[in-house]
């Protein structure tokens, strides 16, 4: 449904936002693009939605080339943008109607679909209010409803829950997760919330500095770090501690450092054995053993940039 080949974007001034990426998204699949700010996720969505012109490479949506046939590609897709993209002086219903009309939905069909999405997304009491009076979460739900009115074959969600409070975020995630039952809908979602990606996505690509550095199902990505790892809190020179662990053969190249925490995949070694070796070195104030999470995969591949940004 989505095919991306050697896609590249260099902005005027020479900033290489996307440096040649390839991926496919199958029909009905929910595909996540993960990465820290500046990794190239939004630029990728911009190129797929034809609001950013690719410098090189190709991208197709349902067989439609976004550069050669942008109108048809746009007709097949809808977007929920990262920031508010609404007219505050129009009602929610008018937003949905406007989208339906621009995407060529017949008036009678549009009315029915608006009623359907309004009910499905719990917008019944809001829909005839001016959007300027909506809360952040309400506005997000409206934007999602708007994107669904045209029954797109491809839905782009660009950081859909960013800036929302935890309760509203979870409510919205429930709604987005509910979209998975729509077999005709292929979804590409960008996020830097890893729990969100793990919950929603069938497959993930992790982007870093404009490149895809890992791609697979959440389970496949976690398998890269084995079944168990150690997390060491270092009180002192953490890079030096990691170097010592590597020198002693306790940590390998896949061990990584974020702030004062060193994470060491066990790669089949018994945790008790490695914990004992670490204990002898007296480097860590605490050591815990746990299975790897998507956060570990992400932090290892992106060099902890998210943690630094936060």
């Amino acid at each position: 449904m989505i095919e991306v080949r050697s896609l590249r974007k260099t902005y005027p001034g020479g900033v290489e936002a996307v440096r040649g990426i390839d991926f496919d998204v199958g029909p009905g699949e929910v595909f996540g693009l993960l990465g820290p700010n500046g990794a190239g996720k939004s630029t990728t969505i911009g190129m797929l939605t034809t609001t950013i012109r690719p410098t090189a490479g190709t991208a197709t949506l349902d067989g439609l080339d976004v550069s050669r046939d942008p109108l048809a590609a746009r007709r097949a897709s809808s977007v929920v943008f990262q920031e508010a993209v609404v007219d505050r002086g129009l009602t929610g219903r008018r937003h949905l109607d406007l989208h339906a009309r621009l995407w060529g939905v017949e008036q009678r069909q549009a009315t029915q679909r608006i009623d359907d999405v309004t009910a499905a997304l719990g917008l019944g009491t809001l829909i005839d209010r001016m959007v300027g009076s909506y809360s952040g979460g309400e506005r997000r739900r409206l934007e999602l409803a708007r994107a669904l009115v045209s029954r797109p074959r491809v839905l782009f969600l660009d950081e859909p829950t960013v800036g929302l409070d935890p309760l509203i975020r979870h409510e919205l995630l429930d709604l987005i997760a509910g979209l998975k039952s729509r077999e005709e809908l292929t979804t590409l979602v960008t996020t830097h919330y890893l729990d969100e990606a793990e919950r929603l996505c069938d497959r993930l690509a992790i982007m870093h500095d404009g490149l895809i550095v890992a791609l697979g199902t959440p389970a496949e990505l976690k398998e890269q770090l084995g079944r168990e790892l150690l997390e060491l809190r270092i009180d002192g020179d953490a890079p030096a501690a990691l170097a010592v662990l590597r020198d002693r053969g306790i940590a390998r190249d896949d061990a990584f450092l974020v702030g004062s925490t060193v994470t060491v995949p066990l790669n089949g070694h018994a945790s008790s054995e490695v914990m004992a070796a670490v204990g002898e070195l007296r480097l860590a104030t605490s050591v815990i053993s746990r299975p790897p999470t998507l956060d570990d995969v992400y932090l290892r591949l992106t060099g902890g940039r998210l943690a630094e940004a936060a």
Partner: protein, 265 residues
């Protein structure tokens, strides 16, 4: 094909109209200054300078040359609002040619400008200012006013595409909408200015539009004579209308291109 273009154009125009009427300031503010000129300042000047009643009519038409640029420039402001706080990105992701976004805004700007010009002329007539208009004359007037509106809106779109912030845009409005008005024979004939400025005025589309408007609504060909010399009035009006049309077409094409390029990075 035509329906496929007209339907989204109407949908986009309706959106722009609904947003515009929700901000009455956009409708009223551009009207205030021209009304003041037509109804208060012109009669006061007539009395002070001991001119005859035709001067009031001369200035009334001259204020149309202020109203059209002011209103179209205000309409251009909404493009920045759309981009900064509105739904422009959703519209850019819609399966419609992006030129329609500009043309839809243009249609609404023209409709509102037309309404305001009608209010201005009606108010001037109610104040006792006499217009000597035949059907043909009204057509000359409407042609010049519409083409001036189209060209000025194109300029507003270009400015809105180039200027990132509303306050920067507003700071440029006087240079675009008001300075040419003083030079274009709005309050006095261009022949009353120093020769160099008269030549500058001859190159302003507003000068041509105002001369055609006065020819149409007052039967006054003096403005056309000041531009073209001893060409017959109808021929001179056609020439000035052509200049205004060229201005309108060129600015519209440029505005569509610049909008499309600036909207897609």
């Amino acid at each position: 094909m035509l329906t496929a273009t007209l339907n989204p154009l109407m949908v986009l125009s309706r959106r722009r109209f609904q947003l515009t009427v929700r901000t009455p300031r956009e409708l009223l503010v551009p009207l205030v200054t021209p009304l003041l000129f037509a109804l208060v300042i012109a009669p006061a000047l007539k009395t002070a300078l001991h001119t005859d009643t035709s001067y009031e009519a001369f200035v009334a038409i001259g204020t149309v040359g202020l109203l059209v640029p002011l209103n179209t420039m205000f309409s251009g402001l909404s493009v920045i609002v759309d981009r900064e706080q509105g739904a422009q990105r959703e519209l850019l992701a819609a399966p419609v040619p992006r030129s329609l976004l500009v043309l839809a805004n243009l249609l609404v700007a023209l409709a509102i400008t037309g309404l305001q010009v009608a209010v201005l002329i009606a108010a001037a007539a109610a104040r006792g200012i006499h217009f000597d208009a035949s059907t043909g004359g009204v057509l000359w007037f409407l042609g010049a006013t519409s083409l001036l509106g189209v060209g000025m809106y194109g300029l507003a779109e270009i400015l809105a595409a180039k200027v990132p912030k509303q306050e920067e845009y507003i700071a440029r409005v006087p240079a675009v909408a008001i300075v040419p008005w003083f030079l274009a024979g709005s309050l006095f004939p261009i022949s009353a200015m120093p020769t160099a400025l008269t030549w500058v005025a001859k190159f302003l589309p507003l000068t041509h539009a105002l001369a055609v408007m006065r020819y149409g609504l007052l039967g006054d060909a003096a403005g056309l004579h000041n531009i073209w010399g001893s060409v017959d009035p109808a021929g001179a009006a056609a020439l000035s209308l052509t200049v205004t049309a060229f201005f309108a077409v060129a600015l519209t094409i440029a505005s569509v291109r610049i909008f499309t390029r600036s909207a897609v990075r």
